[in-house]
């Protein structure tokens, strides 16, 4: 699984594609595959040991399980529902692109996703880093941020940093607010500070979490605090394939 990449990708999608993308719905799509399942995968305790399910991999990415959240077809159906309810093609398409970005990013780990579901439960998995979610959030953080998963997050952070102006208030006022009906709606319900918070929170968290987790994994955590950017790493992690 990917970590902060899911927080940062929507900003670059918005920047690349432009006004056809609603950033809030692209973010919602990017978060949607894990929104209701991550807590069950990791258990309720940061340090692990309070598992809620016997087979987190099967639950998270498999079928039977909720692996259908990490497919191409389900986000398409959800975006159809968004369109039917809102009549906003921009919102539906943005949700779909955000969700597909998440699904395709998750093909990089060793478990992968069922891209052809419901026609096949075959997993596309590129094995760039190991899936370690079943070991709990703490161990997964060590594995992810010391492996090429961490490099994947850094890639997105560096790319977005080169486009830092998309995070400015001026960009919000000129490029986002006038072009997405979501923002005037949110402003009527809240205030300007809250709108800017919603706009930036995911990017702020994405950048901060990469720095924080990497420093924690390398300098605070005592379990294998070493970078291992080998393909399929880290080498200490148990080999975990599709369920």
């Amino acid at each position: 699984m990917s970590w902060a990449a899911h927080d940062l990708e929507p900003y670059l999608i918005r920047w690349k594609i432009g006004a056809a993308i609603s950033l809030p719905f692209c973010l919602l799509g990017s978060y949607s595959p894990d929104m209701f399942t991550k807590w069950a995968v990791y258990g309720l305790d940061f340090s692990g040991g309070k598992e809620l399910v016997s087979d987190p991999v099967q639950l998270h990415r498999g079928w039977p399980g909720v692996g259908f959240t990490h497919t191409l077809i389900v986000p398409l159906l959800v975006s159809g529902v968004i369109y039917l309810l809102s009549k906003q093609k921009m919102w539906a398409v943005s949700f779909l692109i955000g969700a597909w970005a998440h699904v395709l990013s998750d093909t990089l780990d060793s478990v992968g996703v069922m891209v052809f579901f419901p026609f096949s439960t075959w997993h596309l998995h590129l094995d760039v880093w190991q899936y370690v979610g079943q070991a709990g959030r703490r161990r997964d953080a060590v594995a992810y941020y010391t492996s090429l998963g961490g490099a994947w997050d850094i890639f997105w952070a560096v790319w977005l940093a080169t486009r830092w102006r998309v995070l400015t208030t001026a960009y919000f006022d000129t490029q986002l607010f006038p072009k997405d009906p979501f923002w005037p709606w949110l402003l009527r319900k809240s205030n300007r500070t809250f709108c800017l918070t919603v706009y930036r929170a995911s990017a702020f968290f994405g950048f901060a979490s990469i720095v924080g987790w990497m420093m924690w994994a390398l300098f605070v955590n005592e379990f294998n605090p070493h970078l291992d950017w080998s393909l399929g790493g880290p080498s200490w992690a148990p080999r975990t394939g599709p369920p």
């Binding site: 300007r192 809250f194 702020f204 924080g212 420093m215 924690w216």
Partner: protein, 68 residues
């Protein structure tokens, strides 16, 4: 579509622009350091950063206006 209200927090000078960038970098670094020291409170999900980002956003114009 509704026009955005007046935005007094836009940096007006080059110095204010630099201060704004430094301000957000510092805020992110402080958040990351707190997360490093106590991950369960700061690094588990973006929803936990919303309060921090709201405070930083609210304080930004106050800080940036001090530099002319």
């Amino acid at each position: 579509m509704t026009e955005p209200p007046i935005q007094p927090e836009h940096p007006k000078t080059r110095l204010q622009g630099r201060v704004a960038v430094a301000y957000w970098l510092l805020a992110g670094l402080v958040y990351a350091l707190m997360g490093m020291l106590y991950p369960p409170l700061f690094l588990l999900g973006f929803q936990e950063s919303v309060i921090a980002v709201y405070l930083v956003t609210a304080l930004a114009p106050v800080v940036i206006r001090r530099f002319r």
